[in-house]
């Protein structure tokens, strides 16, 4: 166990929670067919990673973790912008956001 004698909530709890949220995000990416929902699952995964970062930042009293979260959020924002623009562009041609419709590049 992470040494948590002086902590209110042990760091490992946060990490396990983070893992759980991450797993849920993975399931969402793999199972849902709505492109937007896939995106949202990805956001969930990123979020869980952020949570782990912050937990460890407090554990090691190192602000680097929080700065990393800052960057992750920024990048996630940019990624969402582009991704949704892509979805809009794809929707123009396919008239559907079912990602299973995009299977023409198969081997």
């Amino acid at each position: 166990m992470l040494n948590e004698t002086n902590f209110l909530v042990p760091t490992s709890y946060y990490v396990i929670l983070s893992a759980l949220l991450f797993t849920l995000g993975v399931i969402g990416v793999l199972v849902r067919r709505n492109a937007i929902l896939v995106f949202m699952s990805i956001e969930l995964m990123l979020n869980s990673a952020n949570l782990a970062f912050v937990a460890f930042a407090r554990a090691f009293t190192d602000l680097a973790g929080q700065v990393s979260v800052f960057f992750v959020i920024t990048v996630a924002a940019a990624e969402v912008a582009i991704g949704l623009a892509l979805i809009v562009a794809i929707f123009r041609t396919k008239h559907s956001i079912d990602i299973d419709e995009l299977h023409e590049m198969r081997g």
């Binding site: 992470l2 040494n3 209110l8 909530v9 760091t11 490992s12 709890y13 946060y14 396990i16 929670l17 893992a19 949220l21 797993t23 849920l24 995000g25 993975v26 399931i27 793999l30 199972v31 067919r33 709505n34 492109a35 937007i36 929902l37 949202m40 699952s41 969930l44 979020n47 912050v54 937990a55 930042a57 407090r58 554990a59 090691f60 009293t61 602000l63 680097a64 929080q66 700065v67 800052f70 960057f71 959020i73 920024t74 924002a77 940019a78 990624e79 912008a81 582009i82 949704l84 623009a85 892509l86 979805i87 809009v88 562009a89 929707f91 123009r92 008239h95 956001i97 079912d98 299973d100």
Partner: protein, 194 residues
């Protein structure tokens, strides 16, 4: 004691909202569930001596990104998506693998060897207001000194993302004209599909 209980309550809300997002058929419902999840995570940040990040989370993630999601959902009319899938074994297999991942991750976190190799963390004395750990000032200092380059890079990245989003969403002029024509002829088509 209180902290632990609060933690578990919030954790339950987070997991429940995540599952709710995954299972809702209505995309708007899913987005709103996700907003709830984000808010919960922001509260976690508060408990973890990261007040700045909590505010950022609320402002950017829940405020901007999810709003954007909702915009797009409304634009595309994708509230409902059929559930029948052509890949029948995809979901079960995904769930199995994800649970495996979960299990592996848990084992790793809880194993003594990993703990030993990480070294003893230092305890934090006091709240953020007292120590300044996690305050905007501290983070700001780091951003402008140690992490200046990534900071600038991310700024460029945002610029590029903006331009990219404009370009992608705009499409070609012809495309716009044709789309406009289609829209004129069947103005309610996109709305009908939901």
């Amino acid at each position: 004691m209180l902290g632990t209980i609060l933690f578990f309550i919030l954790a339950a809300i987070a997991v429940a909202s995540a599952i709710g997002m995954l299972t809702s058929t209505n995309a708007v419902h899913a987005a709103l569930f996700l907003v709830l999840n984000f808010l919960t995570v922001a509260l976690f940040y508060l408990g973890l001596n990261a007040p700045f990040l909590a505010m950022v989370q609320v402002t950017v993630y829940a405020g901007a990104i999810m709003v954007l999601f909702l915009f797009v959902i409304m634009l595309l009319g994708a509230e409902r998506v059929e559930l029948t899938s052509r890949l029948r074994w995809q979901a079960p297999l995904a769930i199995v693998l994800a649970l495996l991942l979960m299990a592996t991750g848990t084992v790793l976190v809880l194993s003594p060897e990993v703990n030993a190799s990480l070294g003893l963390p230092q305890p934090l004395q006091g709240t953020p207001a007292e120590t300044g750990f996690g305050s905007p000032a501290e983070i700001g200092t780091l951003l402008f000194t140690q992490y200046l380059l990534p900071f600038q890079a991310v700024g460029v990245l945002l610029l590029v993302a903006m331009i990219g989003a404009v370009v992608l969403a705009k499409g070609s002029l012809k495309q716009i004209d044709r789309k406009d024509e289609a829209e004129i002829q069947t103005p309610t088509a996109s709305l009908e599909r939901s």
